[in-house]
Amino acid sequence: MKKALFWVLILVVFGGCSFKTEPNLWQYKSALAFESYKNDFLRGEDALAKSEYERALDLAKSSDDLRQLGAIYLGKCALDLAVGIKNECKEYAQIDELIGCKKLHNYFLFLRNDTKALQPAYLPSRYRRFAKALVQGDYEAAKRAQIDIEDPASAMIALELLRTHASKRNIEVTLKKVSFYGYKKGVVHLLEKLKNKTNDIQEKKRLEKKITILTKE
């Protein structure tokens, strides 16, 4: 009797520690695939990025809950914006009404620089101070807030949203962050941006040389 009880206890204790398959595995997998897409895309590994993005989309389409799908569309839109690719988030715009999520809707407005309707409180916390400054039209505060954004991809998105108001320092600080992470596509885009911003011919040549080195096959 004692022996049986001992083994039951052992089974209960160690059974509890064992792995359990989540029923919403699609959601985890989709988020993981999107994370891989983000890294591959920013590193310039386009073939891998494409495959991961399609995987994330396929998995997100497993459920009636379209929030995941919307977040993926918006994420792609944001990353395109970050590296200077024109994207009007049309895919998300088509399902925005169906989702009805304030968080995603405000992120969408944020990417479109629609400061009139934007409610910064619904944005991810790292953007709030920056978005608030944008809504108030205080570009000096926005520039300071952009520099304080730690995440390199987010810093790039904020930099693009500053448009012509972005200073050379904004670009340089962002470039440093992006370079540290090895996000080649972002680095090349920021070097181009910096080249266009500077008036010094020598500096322009130096930057051009760097771009050539990075983009040469």
């Binding site: 004692k2 009880l5 001992f6 206890l9 052992i10 204790v13 520690c17 792995f19 398959t21 989540e22 919403n24 595995l25 959601q27 985890y28 997998k29 989709s30 988020a31 993981l32 999107f34 994370e35 891989s36 983000k38 073939a47 891998l48 495959s51 991961e52 994330a56 997100a60 929030r67 995941q68 977040a71 993926i72 918006l74 994420g75 944001a78 990353l79 970050a82 992120y107 991810p124 995440d151 991809a153 987010s154 998105i157």
Partner: protein, 304 residues
């Protein structure tokens, strides 16, 4: 009289035969676009080695023209002139570019990559050309696959070394589990608690503390495995998977030719099947790794 009628009949037959022959030839040539006006364009390459006069120019698999002339220019480049039939002229516009395809099996041809509705390009204009070499591409693609495989083996070695090491978190955990099991087996106070003896409660609590420490160790082990070993391996497998999918796509284009070769070309078929099998395996492996890497916090897409 009868002979004369026979001669007339033969004469009529010969005339009808030749008229029919000429008519059929005309219709055939007309259908092939022989009488259609042709428009010439050219492209410049470094070498003429891949081109021959008469080489077809195809669009979506249909022959829409052919190479008429190849000439060596004074600067060492090669000018290749090709012509397109009138009805297919719409595919040659300012957005068109050419692709020289040299498949693993079958004869090389020029593929026109374009869309209609962009107007016509003036005859005699230059078109850009991209030269691909499927055989060499395949070899080039296989080189990184071998590198990746070596990398995977290296990673597996690291995993094994890590696990075998005396100080590895996994070994420590195993030792802890061993101690805990010994404790449970030797000390029957826990069991007496279950059977109703309240005095042994302190011992039970002590055992639970031990479980906590074990769980922490397990968590450390998993974290180390995920961070240092599983993630790079996962990335490597993903890269290998992408390359294999690409190679598989290339094999798909060979399918009709492989079929036409019949049973004699079993080696190509076998290679294709093994690539397909490896893709499926890497797919499953990726799924397993994804399951290991799952983090409770990461079920939602993190917006960049």
């Amino acid at each position: 009289m009868q002979y004369s009628r026979m001669k007339t009949a033969v004469g009529i037959f010969v005339i009808v035969f030749f008229v029919s022959l000429i008519g059929a030839t005309y219709l055939l040539l007309d259908a092939k676009g022989f009488f259609q006006k042709r428009y010439s364009y050219y492209f410049i390459t470094d070498t003429a080695s891949s081109f021959t006069i008469g080489m077809p120019v195809k669009f979506s698999g249909f022959a829409i023209g052919s190479i008429d002339k190849i000439e060596l220019l004074d600067d060492g480049h090669v000018k290749t002139i090709f012509s397109i039939t009138e009805q297919n002229r719409k595919w040659i516009n300012k957005y068109t570019y050419l692709l020289l395809k040299k498949p693993l099996l079958g004869s090389p041809h020029i593929e026109v990559l374009a869309s209609s509705g962009n107007g016509f390009l003036k005859p005699g204009s230059k078109l850009p050309i991209i030269i691909t070499d499927d055989i060499n591409d395949l070899v080039t693609k296989f080189e990184p696959v071998v590198d990746k495989l070596l990398n995977i083996i290296k990673n597996i070695e690291t995993i094994t070394n890590n696990m075998a090491s005396e100080d590895s978190p996994l070994n420590k955990t195993m030792r802890n589990i061993e101690t805990f099991s010994d404790k449970l087996a030797n000390d029957d106070s826990l069991l007496t608690t279950v059977t109703g003896d309240k005095k042994a409660a302190k011992n039970v609590l002590a055992s639970l503390e031990k479980i906590d420490s074990i769980l922490q160790d397990i968590s450390k082990t998993t974290k180390t495995l995920q961070g240092d070993l599983v993630r790079p391996t996962s990335q490597t497998i993903k890269e290998l998977h992408a390359i294999l999918v690409d190679v598989h796509e290339k094999f798909k284009t060979l399918q009709p030719l492989v079929k036409s070769l019949g049973e004699s070309d079993k080696s190509v078929k076998k290679l294709q099947q093994s690539v397909q099998a490896t893709i499926e395996k890497t797919d499953k492996l990726m799924e397993k790794i994804d399951s290991i890497l799952i983090d409770e916090k990461n079920k939602e897409v993190q917006l960049p």
